[in-house]
């Protein structure tokens, strides 16, 4: 048979087959493709979470001995642990302030770039670069900036003739938390900015154009048109930012270790200390803190999404 004959027979045979639907895979194929990811997820996420819940109700003794203590860990935590409450208070302040500043600061920067401010391409790179840096680098850089003797912060104050305001920024309970907060915001502003910038560029040009035709001023356009249309983005960033801040650890650990006098102690740093620095192998108590905090975060996320969700669908 000639080659052209073979090709035409092959084409006829294939055209007679039913259409293959890539979405309709057999159970075997599904298992093969999903199993590796599910196993990893189960091993490194589900099991540790379940184990933490289990530990929270037990005292973990050496060599695998566990003793059921019921709500004992939670009672001790809530009724007799003053450092825990200090950590909760610090984390709450940090989370609320940093979330608001991060999200709305990011929005302002994005608006600045969206309005094509001078040097916008350069500013975009400069503002986004800290996002790419690790917490360790950011922490070390800011510890240097805040150093009393050779830090940039005091040098600038001195240069401005404000020497009276020079101080040990990370060394005093009244300034330590806000100083860490500034470093944190510096790192994350750029992330929010880039997300907002993408959302701004996706806004329908007709709506913005119509507002301009109606002689709408820039503030009115921002308040009545842009922000309502960015609502979904704002809510998402608020929730994401909130979760991240409630679990803040790295930056605080590097910059202050929770001091001075527990003024920057957060729930996460306290969990770490209780687990690894308190001369004990009992992971029950730190697990109780982690579980309680997990439930609190979950509850707040539910409340936030309920309060901030879009009730009326925008049409444009």
């Amino acid at each position: 048979m000639s080659i052209s004959g073979r090709l035409s027979r092959f084409a006829r045979r294939n055209s007679a087959r039913p259409e293959i639907d890539a979405r309709r895979a057999g159970i075997g194929i599904l298992v093969v493709f999903l199993a590796p990811a599910l196993l990893i997820y189960a091993g490194f996420t589900i099991y540790p979470v379940l184990r933490t819940f289990y530990n929270a109700f037990h005292a973990i003794k050496p060599h695998g001995v566990v003793e059921f203590v019921g709500l004992g860990n939670f009672t001790a935590l809530l009724l007799a642990d003053s450092i825990f409450w200090k950590a909760v208070s610090n984390t709450a302040i940090f989370t609320i302030v940093a979330t608001i500043v991060d999200v709305f600061g990011g929005l302002l920067l994005a608006l600045c770039l969206f309005a094509r401010a001078p040097l916008a391409p350069l500013l975009r790179v400069v503002w986004f670069t800290p996002v790419l840096m690790s917490y360790v680098v950011v922490g070390i850089v800011w510890v240097w900036i805040y150093d009393y003797d050779w830090g940039l912060a005091n040098a600038v104050l001195h240069w401005l003739g404000l020497g009276a305001y020079e101080q040990s920024w990370l060394g005093h309970p009244s300034t330590a938390l806000s100083s860490v907060l500034v470093a944190h915001v510096w790192k994350w502003l750029g992330f929010n900015m880039i997300v907002f910038l993408a959302a701004l560029h996706a806004l329908p040009a007709e709506v913005l154009g119509a507002a301009e035709l109606d002689n709408c001023g820039w503030l009115a356009k921002l308040v009545y048109i842009i922000i309502p249309m960015l609502r979904a983005t704002i809510v998402n960033l608020l929730v994401l930012s909130f979760i991240g801040k409630m679990m803040v650890f790295d930056l605080i650990w590097i910059m202050t270790g929770g001091g001075p006098l527990w003024s920057t102690e957060t729930v996460s740093t306290y969990v770490y200390k209780r687990a690894f620095e308190w001369n004990t192998f009992d992971l029950g108590y730190p697990s109780a803190i982690a579980v309680l905090w997990f439930i609190i975060i979950l509850a707040f996320i539910a409340i936030m999404t309920r309060l901030l969700r879009q009730r009326d669908r925008l049409e444009f």
Partner: protein, 432 residues
């Protein structure tokens, strides 16, 4: 028949080969063993060289044995151990310090009494690791708390040190005031990355004022921090703090930076530090070490008015090694501990690390570029009564955390009054 013969031949060859390979494998598994060691102090070349040499010596004496040392920083090492040991894993041998008694109470380390050659270890150092009649660690590094000073700076202030090298508490306060007036930092110290250096001055003062017994009671919860003698000491420390004794960046200055602050920039009159100061100072200047001609001196911590033991001094054990209870090669692990603890290795430790050791070493004459330093260090040990153990060895849990936050950091950092410090320490530590 031929086929049958061929099959039998193949089977025979197979069996013989399997037997040979099996034999080789058995022999190999008996001899080729790897001893896992986890150690801190990766950033101290002399200590790294010391332990690597001990590993090589063991490998030479035990063909087939290999020692694999993994180097850690302190905090990651203990975080790794606290997860590995409860899972029945971890290295055969690991670095530990005497204040970490939880490893002993949890039985994650084994008694070494019958495994190690204790003839090579100083009895006083062994005692530090003895709990309920059993010894759990090989005390490698020993140190004393010293008060280093810049001889030229002290001369500039017009202060002469008495022959015994010990100023009174009033004289030391005078040094601080004079130094500040002259634009010098009296005491280089920082608590940016350690939970103890800020308490050197108050700790040594309390030891001298209270004497060893009451000092121990204070840090084991049997004596109140409101005791008038303790309050008196804290008031003196507060006077030092108010006189500007510590650097302005005390709260964030790191341990290594405080060394550099003392001998290079900007310079300070004194540096309270464990005698392991040398580990960072005696490296080349371009690697952050002390300048070659730096006029380093050692004075005794000040004598306290009415002190119960002004000749007292803290001596403690630092770097030590223990054997994991889950190790399958305990005998080889003990051989490694012995390899690190011979008199020759003890001599090498002193001559290269420039630091005391718990290993018995017969070193009467010191040689090398820092011989004068070591001679002065030994002179400062004459007539001294040692208190073995630092406050951190005695406190645990919440008290340990409060010690780090209060006596180490906030109090010398000028953030607390004496009353506040007493109240906070008592709340967490005093069990009376």
């Amino acid at each position: 028949m031929h086929a049958c013969f061929a099959m039998r031949s193949v089977a025979a060859v197979g069996l013989v080969t399997a037997a040979i390979l099996g034999g080789v494998a058995t022999k190999a598994s008996a001899q080729n063993v790897t001893l896992e060691v986890w150690s801190h102090e990766a950033d101290e070349p002399a200590k790294v060289a010391f332990r690597e040499l001990a590993a090589k010596n063991l490998e030479k004496s035990r063909p087939g044995a290999k020692v694999k040392i993994t180097w850690y920083e302190k905090n990651p090492l203990f975080a790794a151990l606290k997860t590995a040991l409860p899972a029945g894993k971890g290295p055969d041998v690991f670095y530990l310090e005497p204040d970490q008694v939880e490893y002993i109470t949890a039985s994650y380390v084994i008694p070494l009494d019958d495994l190690v050659n204790w003839n090579n270890i100083e009895p006083w150092a062994r005692k530090v690791w003895t709990h309920n009649g059993k010894t759990y660690g090989i005390p490698q590094e020993a140190y004393t708390n010293e008060l280093y000073y810049d001889k030229d700076a002290l001369k500039k202030l017009g202060i002469a040190l008495p022959a015994n090298g010990q100023l009174t508490q009033a004289q030391f306060l005078e040094v601080a005031k004079k130094a500040r007036a002259a634009g010098m930092t009296p005491i280089s110290q920082g608590v940016g990355d350690r939970p103890y250096p800020g308490a050197y001055i108050s700790g040594e003062a309390l030891l001298r004022k209270l004497g060893p017994d009451d000092y121990q009671k204070l840090f084991t919860g049997k004596l109140s921090f409101a005791d008038p003698r303790v309050v008196e000491v804290l008031k003196w420390v507060k006077e030092l703090v108010d006189a500007g004794a510590y650097p302005k960046n005390f709260m964030t200055l790191k341990l290594g930076e405080s060394h550099y602050y003392f001998y290079s920039k900007p310079g300070a009159v004194t540096l309270p530090m464990g005698s392991w100061y040398t580990g960072r100072a005696f490296v080349p200047e371009d690697k952050g070490g002390q300048p070659e001609k730096f006029p380093l001196g050692i004075m005794q911590y000040p004598a306290m008015d009415g002190g119960a033991c002004n000749q007292c001094k803290t001596s403690a054990i630092g770097a030590s090694f223990v054997i994991n209870a889950a190790s399958k090669q305990k005998e080889l692990a003990a051989a490694f501990l012995n390899a690190m603890s011979t008199p020759e290795m003890g001599k090498m430790w002193i001559e290269t690390v420039y630091l005391q050791t718990g290993i018995k070493a017969d070193v009467k004459n010191f040689s090398g570029p820092h011989a004068a330093y070591f001679t002065e260090l030994m002179d400062r040990q004459k007539g001294v009564t040692y208190f073995i153990g630092s406050p951190r060895d005695m406190v645990t849990g919440e008290c340990k955390d409060t010690f780090a936050q209060v006596l180490n950091s906030a109090f010398p950092g000028g953030l607390l009054t004496v009353d506040q410090a007493v109240q906070m320490m008592n709340k967490s530590c005093y069990k009376g």
